[in-house]
Symmetry: C2
Subunit: 497 residues, 2 copies
Amino acid sequence: MFEAAELGRKISKRDFQDRLSSLRVELLNMQFGLKDADFPVIVVIAGDDRSGTNDALNLMNAWLDARYLLTNAYGPRSDEERERPPFWRYWRALPPKGRIGIFHGSWTWEVILQRFDAAIDELTMLHSINNINSFERCMVDDGAILLKFWLHLPKSIFKQRIREWQKDPEQSWRINQVDEWMFNNYRKSISTIENVLRRTSKGETQWNIVESSDNRYANLRIAETILERVNKRLKENENKPSESSGSSFPSALDNQTTILDKIDLNVSLPKDQYEHSLREWQSKLSRLARAAYEAGRSSVLVFEGWDAAGKGGVIRRLTAAMSAATYRVIRISAPSAEERRHHYLWRFWRYMPRAGNVAIFDRSWYGRVLVERIESFATEREYRRGYSEINHFEEQLWRHGIVLSKFWLHINREEQSRRFEARRNTPYKKHKLSDEDIRNRNRWEDYKRAANDMIERTSTDYAKWHIIPANDKRHARIQVLQIVCSMLEEALEGKDA
Amino acid sequence: MFEAAELGRKISKRDFQDRLSSLRVELLNMQFGLKDADFPVIVVIAGDDRSGTNDALNLMNAWLDARYLLTNAYGPRSDEERERPPFWRYWRALPPKGRIGIFHGSWTWEVILQRFDAAIDELTMLHSINNINSFERCMVDDGAILLKFWLHLPKSIFKQRIREWQKDPEQSWRINQVDEWMFNNYRKSISTIENVLRRTSKGETQWNIVESSDNRYANLRIAETILERVNKRLKENENKPSESSGSSFPSALDNQTTILDKIDLNVSLPKDQYEHSLREWQSKLSRLARAAYEAGRSSVLVFEGWDAAGKGGVIRRLTAAMSAATYRVIRISAPSAEERRHHYLWRFWRYMPRAGNVAIFDRSWYGRVLVERIESFATEREYRRGYSEINHFEEQLWRHGIVLSKFWLHINREEQSRRFEARRNTPYKKHKLSDEDIRNRNRWEDYKRAANDMIERTSTDYAKWHIIPANDKRHARIQVLQIVCSMLEEALEGKDA
């Protein structure tokens, strides 16, 4: 979930200043337009970067018109509050229609904290999460815009910051118990956070994960998102068609690094080494696949990636090591007439493997948030809902004990050109090149952003995305073989059973 | 929850036959119209009346055109099914767009059964319920019509039936383990059922509780509901305004008994006895209220009922026994301009009492599903959502340890006339009679149905409705005093803490 928020996204001071003066005017205009609207705006700012959330809260207060703004920060509960049900403090602070209410930390953060120090067990946590979801659903059903931002610091920066504060007597006051606990239990705390955020992300109540190593980037991202969402709704209410999303985004935020940009595509494997490795790993996979079959442990492997990234080749190297009776490769293209008459997940449920078997998806349910999003086959509501629908779907597979691996095969544009060219010039490969490939190619940037969002929102504890550098086919194939082997091995050892 | 399904509702054989021939034609026409629609219809038929659900399933199969119908009944899981995640069996059976799929028992029933024999703990149950809600939400978000029917037998009839079967060697095969368990653990099983049904009732996924002591009534109710909901959606899709709901309902179903009709309004209390009782109960309430205050136990008392039913008088008899510093009477009328700018529950949250205090609501949040429903101040979607929003709201009060009592003061039309007349003729009461009262009076039947639905959907284990016969004011006052005393007593003894 946090991979896509550890990319070192930055805004230069100059870009920031350039944008700021017009941004502030736009924010004030937005508030003015909102004044008589029939919906409130609820903004939640929380995060593992505590000082970043403070900073953001202060800036939003400075940038927005305080007359139409309510800011709420929460400390320990007062007597007044303890004597009422837990959500009383939040209900009373809700903004009326036409106003923006900013909540610092608040209901979700409270549950995370309680879970940190094990003040509540899993059952109580689940009750609390259901309360949160009912509460937020109430707001959204009633027409509120709900925007939730989670400010995330990459681990190394988080740890480094705490260490620096610890050393500096003038800064050490900044560290509170929570920081300390997270510092000492980093993995556990991130996993708790991920769990709670995922369970409280449902369609319109989705968390926006914002990388906060650079305050300028984080604050701009928050302000622009508020601006965009509110203006969009105001326009819709006037019955004007809203502009295509993103167009109002400034270039400084637009051209940010995606998680795919961070992949080192220069890795490669010499041919002789490849052949040796291939034999080695295929024989290992063959043993493991047989053992999994005998143990009744099923697997679902998902392959997504650019056109011509080599998905077919990777899959063939896997299946070569499996017994034909135990696996099935499912190639997903546009849905059939029958499939279109069902919920988009229906056709994938059909292919869930029997005990011990392997289902390999060459493209998958992720079409919903990739091609369907980009080509507008799915509406914005539909594809946004898709993330939580998919997470819930995969959670069911995981709870059932299915070994689930998801791969994004990554190449760059130049490599794709070379491969398209090769296809064009090789008679027996020519059929693989379609007009669609060419069209998709023109939407490279859109796909990159959609893939980034997908990885951010659906990479979970129980179903991580593996991004495989695939400019070198040999390297990609071996890497996938290794990952599949290690997942099977872990599963058979019962490590994640 | 089940009170309103224990009224002995019946359809005579003749009324049934009268309706049946046209109903069957309408059902087939509906299916024909549905054929090319872009949504599926998912019907769930479950219940504590197992043989009633079988009967309903068979009849729907007979009445509907099998070509456009999929029926699914579920026994123990097969190998095929056990090897996949739990919802696989349901996903594969979903109807495509334009078709009706009927599910017998199915996902919710399965969880209830597991909970009956304690095969799953509360945490697992909560996970399962979350799965159900996500699954159903998926369907509904995708446009499906989801209709869930729970066939309920009143306790006496249920027990009598099982006893008869037990005695009759030719019938005893009918009894299965579940019946037997329910027979021996009736209260516990109904409470489990209520808990699961409530948690899986959310706006569009609301359960329809159908009394099934009379099969003709139950089956007609199911068929008419399907017919009405599908036709309504088909009309909406053609952009025609849908007819006002209920108009298509046949008189036989329309004129059914409501829970209010069952109230014996002839009870009364002679004046001298009343005065004695009043002193006695007020003194008791006074002691209990002081004890509750000292123990920090708060109360919320809700009064709803017909105009002129005597709410004010009852409330004054309560407050006379309380210390003025500890209670507050909140009279709810149309929302203020400020309140209208918030979620409708917001204004009630504001009045939640501090520890040990009492909040008395003269009319309440139930306006959402009464006056707002009837006067169309709330849309159908809004008031339907209201039931689960209110249940969730009250659950939070209950979990916080607040003593919650809800009273419906019931009088009949004649008594209301007399009281209006008296007001008209008594100078100091004249101001109490408004045009609105007269208008409301003309909607007596609408209110009766709305009150019935309200009691059915919001009478929960933790927040029961008390229906108070109030033609005799003295009797009503003493009864309310008694109930409030006994609830406080229980709470202070920690019975429900």
